[in-house]
């Protein structure tokens, strides 16, 4: 039996626990743990569950605000949006599993984040996904892209939750570690939020969902260990998703949550039954008693160790008030789900589990949940920064053919339209999507109100590589700017911090700087961080990914009719720019594509300027002075202008005149922040000018929409003159050409 195996140092090491950590377990328990207990410690003290490296830093984030109903610490964050409703949202990573098995890894990532949302009592209404792949020419990239996208599509589509946006970057730093970050947003009644808390002695513990199998045993530990060649060889069991069961689980949960005898609920994610039961009991300061024989299982002969640590998907743990078990069972059976009463809440703070009548686990709950050794990991400014920090533009030439350069940029899979991807996602189901994917932010109406929510997710990893502090700030700024361009006011942030190995002080420094940047800008803009997730150890053979603090922002619009999109609406309208263009090429896509380097300083970010631009843009949209707004991001002004030309009701050309000192390529392709391309009817010019002046935001007229050519003059000299339909074909179809090629 698993409990009789003596614990050797080898077994401890296999469980990813250090000798110090094991000594601490012995000290806390005043005895040796048995194997099941060791497994539980190993999972609960893994980086993934305990946040031992990151917690001290995360504590510094601003998490409060008048709208915040629930900040970090629960399954998802909750923000009040008025009318008695709340937005419930979170983003989470499924990076390691998706590298091993892209389809199932991404699918179960989507399933997991949706469970986080509906466990809170919210109906999921929209998903986003943020993806990072290796260099396009890397042999695995195309396969991984297709597998991940299909996994997200099949799961989300079957669930009937629209996938309305996301972002995708390609860079060699992800060759050995792709990132799959999934975001989900739900709506709930503000006074009917469910928490993962197991209170009330004698209350019943209900297991609901799929049967337990031997899936991903030690998955949580795997997600916390660096990759090496052997990991791929071993091909550990990955979890397999069943979206159909999850759809039933969703409907059943929302049905049962109308009852007032549901005490608490939590989904079984990483570390499965262990983490859900321990965390629920800990939050309520209670104990728990489990009968493992009652746990529904897929295979015969599963032991306590496997039952406690399996990561089978589509499972939840409910606590219902004593006496209501029969009603609860009826509801779940109506939905054809496996359900069983597997235990009770006790009051002594101890977790006990029995297998065939024999006690196999007896652990003090608080010790397990909060006892992990806090790591105050050392930090050190990375040596590479000194090498890459400078960029001598004088020795790099402006391309002779800027039109050709523009075409190359438009074809880059990082910049090209993501239509190939989002066409595979149902982005319309539930009839809320007012602005479909393809604009800066998706906009969803809030049913039964006049409101709408705008969503965007962002993070440029190259900026983070050159300066993690500013990289994180820009990620926040850009995600907010996207939401503002749609006409919404940012009200909440969730984040997924993807980094390398925290045991390396240089990585830990990156982490610390990014968290500081994220916190500083959110504080400045007064937007609370209400949920998040940390994914560390994203490195292979010592090669870490670039710091990737992915930021998702939710924005609120009181009047949904005031939403705005990025495309130019018709010919003969004036094109303008809010914000100013500096000579900044460090970390740009242009730099990477033409000089094959990532160096210098990332674009500057002035928090006040950013804030002012947001205010002004929202003001112009609300005054109905502008007809389109589009954030300038990768590829700079030229790419933003072309995108606006192409993404309106029909492709339009434009005649643009730029003036200024920066060199031509910086004016065209530099990625200066806090810039928004707008278009408007000529009559509006005056109003816009005076409002910009009052707001202290630089504003310039750039040209006019219309014709078949995309034409740019700089200081009166023509630099670009291309047929807009040619540009449209390149931008719209490059990614599908890439994704549809075989091998």
């Amino acid at each position: 039996m698993t409990t009789l195996i003596p614990i050797t140092p080898e077994i401890v090491a296999e469980h990813g626990l250090s000798p110090d950590e094991y000594a601490r377990i012995q000290e806390l328990l005043k005895r040796d743990p048995n194997l099941v207990e060791l497994g539980i410690f190993s999972a609960m003290w893994s980086e993934h569950c305990s946040y031992k490296s990151s917690r001290p830093h995360l504590k510094t984030l601003p998490t409060e605000g008048p709208r915040v109903i629930q900040g970090p610490g629960e399954n998802a964050g909750v923000v009040d949006i008025g009318d008695g409703l709340a937005a419930v949202f979170k983003i989470e990573s499924h990076n390691h599993p998706s590298f091993i098995e892209p389809y199932q890894g991404a699918a179960t990532g989507v399933g997991g984040i949706m469970r986080d949302i509906f466990t809170m009592g919210a109906r999921p209404i929209a998903s986003l996904n943020s993806l990072r792949f290796g260099a396009p020419e890397h042999e695995k990239t195309c396969y991984l892209l297709n597998g991940v996208v299909k996994g997200i599509a099949d799961y989300g589509n079957c669930m009937g939750v629209p996938t309305v946006g996301g972002d995708i970057y390609f860079d060699a730093c992800y060759n050995g570690n792709i990132l799959v970050n999934a975001f989900c947003l739900g709506l709930a009644k503000a006074d009917r939020i469910f928490l993962g808390s197991a209170s009330g002695v004698g209350n019943a513990l209900l297991y609901v969902g799929s049967k337990t199998g031997r899936d991903g045993i030690h998955g949580a530990s795997m997600a916390s260990a660096e990759f090496d060649d052997a990991t791929e060889e071993k091909r550990p069991t990955v979890q397999v998703g069943d979206p159909f069961t999850e759809k039933l689980l969703l409907e059943a949960c929302l049905e049962i949550m109308k009852k007032d005898w549901v005490v608490g609920v939590q989904d079984m994610g990483a570390a499965g039954l262990s983490s859900s039961s321990f965390e629920m009991a800990e939050r309520a300061g209670m104990g728990m008693e489990l009968d493992l024989d009652a746990v529904p299982r897929r295979e015969e002969g599963m032991n306590a160790y496997e039952l406690m640590l399996s990561e089978s998907q589509e499972r939840m743990l409910f606590v219902v008030a004593k006496g209501h078990e029969p009603e609860a069972l009826d509801i779940f059976r109506k939905w054809d789900l496996d359900v069983a009463v597997i235990g009770r809440v006790t009051d002594d703070g101890i977790f006990r589990a029995k297998e065939s009548g024999v006690e196999v686990v007896n652990l003090p709950i608080e010790t397990v949940v909060t006892g992990a050794l806090k790591c105050d990991r050392p930090t050190q400014k990375p040596a590479y920064l000194a090498e890459v920090g400078t960029l001598d533009l004088a020795s790099r030439e402006v391309p002779a053919d800027c039109g050709g350069a523009l075409k190359q940029l438009l074809a880059s899979p990082t910049i090209a339209s993501k239509q190939f991807v989002y066409e595979q996602y149902d982005h319309m189901v539930r009839l809320n999507t007012l602005v479909l994917p393809g604009s800066d932010a998706a906009v969803l109406r809030v049913p039964e109100t006049n409101k709408a929510l705008a969503l965007s997710v962002d993070c440029n990893p190259r900026y983070g590589y050159l300066d993690p502090y500013r990289g994180a700030q820009i990620a926040v700024a850009e995600a907010c700017r996207n939401v503002v361009c749609a006409g919404a006011e940012p009200i909440g942030v969730t984040n997924c911090l993807n980094f390398g190995n925290p045991e390396n002080p240089e990585i830990m420094w990156q982490f610390q700087e990014a968290v500081r940047g994220l916190g500083d800008l959110c504080r400045f803009l007064d937007i609370p961080v209400v949920s998040g997730n940390v994914s560390l150890y994203n490195e292979t053979k010592g090669e870490a990914i670039y710091p990737t603090p992915t930021i998702a922002v939710v924005g609120l619009m009181e009047d949904r009719s005031l939403h705005c999109t990025q495309g130019f609406k018709q010919a003969g309208q004036v094109i303008g720019l809010l914000g100013s263009t500096l000579e900044e090429l460090g970390g740009s896509e242009y730099q990477k594509l033409f000089w094959n380097e990532c160096r210098g300083q990332p674009p500057q970010l002035d928090s006040q300027v950013e804030f002012d631009v947001h205010r002004l843009c929202l003001d112009l949209i609300r005054q109905r002075l502008i007809l389109s707004a589009h954030d300038c991001s990768e590829g700079g002004l030229a790419v933003a202008l072309v995108e606006s030309c192409i993404t309106g009701p029909k492709a339009l050309g434009a005649a643009i005149e730029l003036n200024g000192d920066p060199r031509a390529d910086a004016l065209l392709f530099g990625e200066s922040q806090s810039r928004i391309v707008i278009s408007f009817a000529e009559e509006a010019l005056h109003g816009i000018e005076s409002r910009a002046k009052k707001a202290g935001v630089p504003f310039a007229v750039l040209g006019l929409t219309g014709g078949q050519e995309f034409q740019v003059k700089i200081n009166r000299k023509e630099f670009i003159n291309e047929n807009i339909l040619t540009l449209e074909d390149i931008w719209k179809n490059s990614l599908s050409r890439y994704g549809n090629r075989v091998a």
Partner: protein
């Protein structure tokens, strides 16, 4: 030559389709059904290679493309073409 390939889920991997079909058959009154597993079957016609070569090449195709060896196993036979 004709390669006949069976691709099935590895033991212990959740077979959600099999589960659904199993339920459906039980509901239809086939109470004798105890378990259902669903897999793929492929026939690949090959030309211009020896059986020995085919053995290696088909194995390679399975590993690379036809089966997802993280969760699936495969087996195949080679037969002379009809």
């Amino acid at each position: 030559m004709l390669a006949k390939i069976h691709v099935t889920l590895k033991n212990g991997v959740l077979d959600s389709q099999g589960k659904a079909v199993h339920h459906a058959l039980n509901d239809l009154g086939y109470s004798e059904v105890q378990d259902v597993h669903l897999g793929k079957y492929m026939e690949i016609a090959l030309k211009g290679i020896s059986e020995k070569e085919a053995q290696t090449r088909v194995k390679e195709m399975c590993e690379k493309l036809l089966a997802n060896t993280v969760i699936e196993s495969y087996r195949f036979t080679l037969e002379p073409a009809e």
